[in-house]
Amino acid sequence: MPEFDLLMPQTLPEALEMLGDRAPDLTPLAGGTNVIVYMREDRHRYKMLMDLTRLNELHGVRREDGHLVLGSATTIAELLTDPLIAEHGALLRQAAAVFASPLVRNRATVGGNLVDASPAADTAPPLLVMNAEVELASQKGVRRVPMDEFMVGVNETLRQPEELLVSIRWPLPATRSAGGFSKIGLRKGAVCSVVSAAVMVEKDEDGLCQSARIALGAVATRPIRAYAAEEILVGQPLKPQIIDLAGQLSAETVKPIDDIRGSADYRRRMVEVLVRRLLSRAAQEIVPRE
């Protein structure tokens, strides 16, 4: 592994000062499950890393004025045991359950997954359909960016070198809403997504679709929303024909590539299948009013 220096701040203000003084030569390090692998593969060299795992400000899950707020250093394993996530972030929990291996999950963080910005990042589709925002902090202040704007391309985000991702927040899901996450890998355990999808639908009092959100992973240069498919669902009863059409429109939205994990054509077909299955399941899950 190439040599590097390591800074070990104990508080968030201290970390932001170090980053303010040294960015872009200083790179944040959370679980290291991307950073250390990139160094081993010689994909990246880092002059200086800054450990984030000791910053209490980046840990914990809390409710705050109608939102759930998740510290960026929350690990994938913590998503599986946190009661607030079970109640208000079920989709994120589903993604955590099929994320890497239990060993990696104990280190890998949600913040690291988003800032790494792989098109296959498994926390992204759930956060996209939950209408999440990320909160970025620097010495100059704090700003919020919607999930759909944060990732801009392969390993590229709107984060500035002097900023840290401090938290992720989303509105508590409505009562008449349901959703799901699903991924296809080359085998069952410990794999990167070949295709992934998340959906979230909300019904109105008459059982018609009030809002629908669909997000897809590993089928473009970044995780994307399928807006055209979402639009045709709104105001409709969530019946098989319209769900089939939403699946087809989702497949038309994506721009997948051929790679060692799968062909573009396979990915497009699987998008259709996953979206159809997830929508049908979610539509059935929302219990109609007595």
Binding site: F4, L29, T33, S101, P102, A190
Partner: protein
Amino acid sequence: MQPKMITLTVNGRKHQVALNPDETLLNALRQLNYTDVKNGCEKGDCGACAVLLNGKAVNSCLVLAWQADGSEILTNAGLGTMDNPHPIQEAFADAGAAQCGYCTPGMIISAKALLDQNPHPSEEEIREAISGNLCRCTGYAQIITAIQIAAERIAASALVGSGQGGKQ
């Protein structure tokens, strides 16, 4: 790049060592002679380097030693001895779950992490728990059997311990 004094408590023994910032926990442990912790891929793929870090099973190749400063580490060797093996270690031997043995310490750590949380796992749950540990020899069947045997034996000895079993 300057070394720093780091404190690691490994299998109950406290060590103070001067380490460079680019040293991984895996290398630090092996330098301290905890060679039961194996180096397979150094990329998080194989699980041969698994240890319990403050009670959680992790790939020690993906942790920097400085990040582990002040932590408690348990390796497979810390679970039991040849004379007094841990029930998981004994079950691995009895079931023929170790052939070349390279994956075994990491497998046992993942099994320990599972049984600590879930004393009666299903086969599916066992497969999931060892999904970050690769084995090139056994085909996994004996490993899964070993973990099932270990779970039964631990449950049985707990019954004996609490006076509900056939203790005489």
